[in-house]
Subunit: 81 residues, 5 copies
Amino acid sequence: MEIMQVVSDLVCSKRVVGFNNASLRVLKDLKGKQLVATDPVGVSPGEWVFTASGSAARIAMKDMKMITDLTICGIIDDWYE
Amino acid sequence: MEIMQVVSDLVCSKRVVGFNNASLRVLKDLKGKQLVATDPVGVSPGEWVFTASGSAARIAMKDMKMITDLTICGIIDDWYE
Amino acid sequence: MEIMQVVSDLVCSKRVVGFNNASLRVLKDLKGKQLVATDPVGVSPGEWVFTASGSAARIAMKDMKMITDLTICGIIDDWYE
Amino acid sequence: MEIMQVVSDLVCSKRVVGFNNASLRVLKDLKGKQLVATDPVGVSPGEWVFTASGSAARIAMKDMKMITDLTICGIIDDWYE
Amino acid sequence: MEIMQVVSDLVCSKRVVGFNNASLRVLKDLKGKQLVATDPVGVSPGEWVFTASGSAARIAMKDMKMITDLTICGIIDDWYE
């Protein structure tokens, strides 16, 4: 799993069906690269989180048919970069 | 999911069977690397999109037998790089 | 599999259900990037380990429904970087 | 899918069983890194191709039991790097 | 598949169950990064090999329950880096 920081929500008016009501967040990885993740936790900008990728991202959403390859799994307390 | 920008259509006269009628687009990721993605959304050059990779790319195409490892999932509004 | 060094435990008060009682460790890969892994071995900070990623991470946990994409598989003896 | 250029055939006298009669090519990605791919298309050195990775590579070979994680999917016409 | 060079055997006294009797080798990829792979071929330090990753690594081991994400698939003859 990777360590990332929450940047913002994703504003996206046109997308494929298959995310159901999942929240999408823009994250920044430890190299500063921005990525998009599904969020079953409920996170806020600035928080540090850890994420699962690949099919583990769908296990974390409890939905193997969801279109995701990156899911937020938890909020990290007291993270020192 | 990754954030990418649409560059062009892919012009490809000889390819394996298994893409059916899927549109193929050339995208550029946030580091400037060019990639090829299947497009179920209908995007135009210059637009910012987010993409799913791996088996999530086939879920996004609603076809688990399609030969794709990268699919455009949506158009991002008001994206500030 | 990759070669990594154990940094610390992960302190995480809020996380999704699906890790059961798995221990989570912060690791550092050979480039210095920090990652989070499930640990079925029992490792201590400073030890060198090797890790399996993707679905191999779940095989290593003996639980294909666990939310993990990185698992510690063993402690390396006498590792010279 | 990634964009790569064909370098050469792979000369390999000793290999595991499981490639059947698949042709193996050495490719170069857009960063100059050399990789090995299975080739169901029939390509020649110097041509630009696009490739599928992971399980998509096996779908492209029409053989889910083939040992491949990278398959050439088509020849790109008029590619300007 | 990637092109790598064999560095050494992996000395590892404590590891999870699930590698059976598979030999583990330390390899070096074309960027110099060291990785660990299962070896069904029987290779010696200094030899150039090509490797399959992800689930293809398990197909190459003929054992879909083996904990591996990287397997040596063959020895490359006359490799010029």
